[in-house]
Amino acid sequence: MATALDRGLEKDQPVELQAAGTRRRGGVGRVLMYLLLVVIAAVFILPLVVVVSASLKFSAEIFTDPGILPADPGFENYTALFARAEFLTWFRNSAIVSTVGTFVTLTITSLSAYAFARIDFPFKNLLFGVLITTLVLPGIMFLVPQFKLIADLGLYNTLPALVLPGLAGVFGVFFMRQFFLGLPVELEEAAYVDGASRLRTFVAIALPLAGPALATLAVITFLAFWNDYLWPVIICQDNCTLPAGLRLLQSQYTGDPGLVMAGATVAAIPVLILYLLLQRYIVQSVASSGIKG
C-alpha cells in the first residue's frame, strides 16, 4: 500500500489530491489498480517474450512445441543467421549508418543552429524559413524523387544511400537552435571580447554547455537511423540495414519463423539495451521534444 512515505521516493509528484476524509483509497481499490497496471505491463511485454521464445526453437520445433518456455531451447537460429554473409552485412551497415549518421548529424546541425541562434546575417530569416517549411511537408512526397536522385547518382544499394537523406533532416537544427537561444549570451560575449573567433566560441563555450541537448538529440537520431524502415527498403537490394533486411529474410524463410524471429531479436537487442541503460532519460527526451517515430 502506498502511504505518505513513498511520496518522497518519487521525483515526479502525482498531482492527485483527495478531499479531506477520503485521504486514502480503500485497499481493494488500490489492489485492483496495481493489478490493472501489472496486467497492462504484461500485455506490453508478452509479444517480446513470444518472439524471443520462438527464436530459441530450431526449425520444426516451433510448430511441434507451442509453449512459451521452449522445451529444448538453443541458439541454432542465431548461429544460422550469423553464418550468412548477407546478415552480417545488414548488421554492419546498421551499426555504421547509425553511429556515423548520429555523429555527422550532431556536428552539422549544431553548427548550423548556432549561426541561426547567435549571428545576424543577410537572408537568415529566409533560409531558416525554408528549413522550417520542409518540417511540415509529409515525408511521402520525397520518396520517389530521393530514390530517383540516389539512383541517378549511381548510389543505389550503397552505404552512402542509406545515410544521406537522414543527414538532411531539419529537426536537429530546429532543436539545437531553440537550445542555444535559451543560453545566456554573456559567456560567449566574454570570449568574444577576448578575441576568440566564432568557431572557437562555439566549440569552447557553447558546445560544452549544450551537452544535455546534444545527448537528447544523439539518442533520438540514433534510434531514428537504427529503426528506419521504408527508405532502406526502397534504396537497397541486398546491401541493406537490419530493418530492411528483415523483410528479405521474412520473404525467403516464410516456412521458418524461428529464424525470422531470431533476426527480429537481433534488430531489437541494441535498442533495448540502450533503452535499459538510458530508460528514464530517453522517456524524458521524447516527452520534452515530442517527436513521433
Partner: protein, 330 residues
C-alpha cells in the same frame, strides 16, 4: 586576412522596404557584427547542413513535381506529359482511379478508427500513471518499450503472434475457444491485427507526452476543486482535459500524420491482403504508392503524382484539425 566588415547598409524601417529588410536582415535583435569578422562566417556555419539539405530535400521537392509531369519509370526517363497522371487519378473511368482512391479510403478509415483509440487509451494510461502509485516510472518505462523498436520488428512480432501456423494468439484461441479466425488473411481480422500492432507500438508515446502534460498542471487547481467537492471524474473533465488542450492538439496532429503514413505493419503482416480487385483490402495509400513506384512496373511518375496528392490531403487535414481544435470552446 579577413575582409573588414562593411558597415551595415542603412535600412528603411517601414513599408515594403522594411518588410524586405526584415526578411533579409532579421528582426534586428542581435545585429552586432564584430569588426574584423569575416562576413562569410555564418554561411560557413550553416553550409555543411544546408548543402546536404539542398541536395536531399529542397531539390527533391521540385524534382518530385517534375517527375510527376513526365512519363518515367525507374528504368527510363520518359517524355513530358503535363498533368496526365493527375487527370487519370481524378478520372473515375480510368484504370488508376478506383485503385488509388480505394487505398486512400482504406487509409482514411484507419486514421478515423486508430486515432481516437490511440488518444483515448493514451489518455487513460496517462491518467492511471498519474495516480499516487509506487513504481510509476517502471510502469511508464514498460509501456514505452515498443515505441523504441523499428516498425519491421513490430510488424514481424505481430505477424508471428497472429500467424495461422502456430502463431501464439491463433493457438491460444484454438485451445480456449476451439476456434480462431484466419487473422492475417481475412477481413476484418486482418485490419484488427494491424490496429493491434499499431496500438502496441505507439500508445506509449502518447501516454508519456500526455502524462508529462498532466504533471505540469498546478496542484492548486485540484486542491481548490476538491474543497468545492468535485469528484475525480469532474476534476478530470474540468481541470485535466482543458489544461491538456495544447498538448492534445499536438498529439492528435502527430497521430493523424503518423496513421496516414501507415505502411510497415501491413507490408510485413498482411502484404496488403487479402487480395481484392482493387489491389488489397488492407493496403493503405503509402503501400499503394510504394507498389506503384518501386514494385512491378516501377512507375515512378505515377507514384510521384499520387504522393503529391496524398501530401496535399494530409496538409489539408492537418490544417482542418488545427482549426477545429483551436476554435472549439473558445
Amino acid at each position: 586576412m579577413s575582409s573588414m566588415a562593411a558597415a551595415t547598409p542603412g535600412r528603411p524601417r517601414s513599408g515594403i522596404g522594411g518588410l524586405l529588410s526584415r526578411l533579409v536582415w532579421g528582426s534586428g535583435k542581435d545585429r552586432r557584427r564584430r569588426i574584423g569578422e569575416n562576413r562569410t562566417t555564418p554561411y560557413l556555419f550553416i553550409l555543411p547542413h544546408f548543402a546536404i539539405f539542398s541536395v536531399m530535400i529542397l531539390f527533391p521537392f521540385f524534382l518530385g513535381i517534375w517527375i510527376s509531369l513526365h512519363d518515367s519509370t525507374a528504368l527510363r526517363d520518359g517524355p513530358f506529359v503535363g498533368l496526365r497522371w493527375y487527370q487519370q487519378l481524378f478520372d473515375p473511368s480510368s484504370f488508376q482511379f478506383p485503385r488509388f482512391w480505394n487505398s486512400v479510403w482504406n487509409t482514411i478509415i484507419f486514421v478515423i478508427i486508430s486515432t481516437p483509440l490511440l488518444i483515448g487509451l493514451g489518455l487513460a494510461l496517462a491518467a492511471l500513471l498519474n495516480q499516487q502509485i509506487r513504481g510509476r516510472n517502471i510502469f511508464r518505462a514498460i509501456y514505452f518499450v515498443p515505441w523504441t523498436l523499428s516498425v519491421s520488428v513490430v510488424g514481424l512480432t505481430w505477424w508471428w503472434m497472429f500467424n495461422g501456423n502456430a502463431g501464439f494468439i491463433t493457438l491460444f484461441m484454438e485451445s480456449t475457444l476451439g476456434w480462431s479466425p484466419n487473422w492475417l488473411a481475412t477481413t476484418p481480422w486482418a485490419w484488427i491485427t494491424i490496429l493491434v500492432a499499431t496500438l502496441w507500438w505507439t500508445i506509449g508515446f502518447n501516454t508519456i507526452i500526455l502524462l508529462a502534460g498532466m504533471q505540469a498542471i498546478a496542484v492548486d487547481l485540484y486542491e481548490a476543486a476538491s474543497i468545492d467537492g468535485a469528484n475525480k471524474w469532474q476534476q478530470f473533465k474540468s481541470i485535466t482535459l482543458p489544461s491538456l488542450r495544447p498538448i492534445l492538439l499536438l498529439v492528435i496532429t502527430l497521430q493523424v500524420i503518423a496513421s496516414f503514413q501507415l505502411v510497415g505493419q501491413p507490408q510485413l503482416m498482411t502484404g496488403g491482403g487479402p487480395p481484392s480487385e482493387l489491389g488489397g483490402e488492407t493496403a493503405p495509400v503509402l503501400l499503394h504508392v510504394f507498389g506503384t513506384g518501386f514494385g512491378g512496373r516501377r512507375e515512378l511518375s505515377l507514384a510521384a503524382a499520387m504522393a503529391i496528392i496524398v501530401a496535399a490531403i494530409m496538409i489539408a487535414v492537418s490544417i482542418v484539425n488545427f482549426r477545429l481544435f483551436s476554435s472549439e470552446r473558445s
